[in-house]
Amino acid sequence: MSVAALLIGLVAIFFGFVMEHLPVPDLIVWFQPLWVLVIITLLVFQAPSTFGLWLAVPLGLLMDAEQGTLLGTHVFTLAIHIFLVQLFFRRMEIFNVFQQLAVVLVLALLHQLLRFWLAQVLFDFAHPVDIWGPALSSAFVWPWLFALTRLLMHRFGR
């Protein structure tokens, strides 16, 4: 566990929350990327020894408080998400950008789907969740964020 990676990661997560909170025009409200989810994927992918399953608990609680969902919903979805990323990341390292993009799309879809299912099972009314929009836009921002982290890591050497 390296302190530098931890600090950089926490700053990245902070900006993820800022981006998620940013007011957006009505036009793209259906296509808000899941910023925190993408950043968590990136962190687990790039620094697997520092960032692991433990991220799910504090970040899940924060996301629940932020989005007003039942406490624990995001802890559940993030734990499964991080587990899957850890399962895949060796393979993802040799994938090209488009294959990675597809994996991120599937993971983001699964995350949204789990949220929807949890809401369905736990409430007697169905709270609809926008499944495709956020997943597609999350997959779209992945290559750019990935390139940015590679650039930063190259620039500051590691």
């Binding site: 909170h21 940013l22 409200v29 629940d64 989005q67 406490l71 624990g72 499964i80």
Partner: protein, 281 residues
């Protein structure tokens, strides 16, 4: 992958499920949410920086003439409102007197707190907004929120410095109303679109017309009595069905208002939070 990772994931998932179960039943879990609010606060403030910066720029580059114009308009409006308030004072005195004659409890003006909308929930399926007052300002869950034109909604989630308000147009929201003209009672539910409410369980024979003003009836114990909620814009009597289809337009400017009022009702309007979290059996 570290050893036993699958088992650990399972453990965390079970913990999360237990937390969800507890959150629905026990109010003390709410404090966890409240604490998260402190951590989220800086991120929320930073994300509002662009809009507050734009606002500041706008304010500091307004010309002197514009300000003078606005000042004139506002003082004219103020005069009109004061005139109305004068009449209101005498009416209120009369009202209290009449109530005393009826030996009913007197209704005093509600205490209010002014707040500003800081964000709209990005989730397109819910009609919720965030306001810049929270638990530290005395905001409580279930508190009614008004804008200058009518009832806007109620507080559903309280964080230390912000709160989440569910608007009356949210599809999970319903409130008891009555027609101002004749006192017929109904329930107004949100439809998920900001410019439309639906009245449910209105008998086909009820006296209700287009243009009727709906005011809160205070029956649910949540909203205070007598605030404007919506104006009826369509009444359809369906032969062969028990209830009429009635739609109404909310009086509050749900999509435009920036300044809102939080109401601290005296007595009746307040339901203790413990009761809100108790699930009716």
């Amino acid at each position: 992958m570290p050893p036993y990772q699958g088992q650990r994931t399972l453990l965390i998932c079970l913990l999360a499920l237990a937390l969800m179960w507890a959150d629905q039943r026990y109010p003390f879990v709410q404090s966890l949410r409240y604490l998260s609010g402190y951590v989220l606060y800086p991120a929320q403030q930073l994300s509002l920086l662009p809009s507050s910066l734009a606002e500041w720029m706008g304010e500091s580059t307004t010309s002197r003439r514009d300000l003078l114009d606005e000042n004139k308009q506002l003082s004219a409006r103020n005069l009109v409102l004061e005139l109305k308030a004068q009449r209101l004072a005498s009416l209120e005195a009369e009202n209290i007197e009449l109530r005393e004659l009826l030996s009913a409890s007197e209704q005093v003006d509600d205490k209010v707190l002014v707040t500003t909308v800081v964000a709209v929930d990005p989730d397109p399926f819910t009609k919720q907004i965030l306001i810049n007052k929270g638990g530290e300002d005395g905001v409580f869950i279930g508190q009614p929120v008004l804008d200058a034109y009518g009832l806007l909604g109620q507080v559903v989630d309280v964080l230390p410095h912000t709160s989440r308000v569910m608007m009356i147009a949210d599809s999970n929201h319903a409130m008891p109303v009555q027609i101002n003209r004749n006192g017929v009672r109904a329930i107004a539910t949100g439809t998920g679109s900001l410019d439309r409410l639906e009245l449910i369980y209105v008998p086909n024979t009820a006296d209700i017309q287009e243009g009727d003003l709906l005011v809160s009836s205070g029956l649910g114990g949540r909203y205070p009595r007598g605030y404007p909620v919506a104006v009826v814009d369509k009444v359809e009597h369906n032969a062969g069905e028990m209830f009429a289809t009635v739609t109404a337009t909310p009086s509050a400017h749900l999509d435009r208002s920036r300044m809102l009022l939080l109401i601290f009702s005296q007595g009746a309007g307040q339901v203790p939070p413990e009761d809100l979290w108790r699930i009716p059996r």
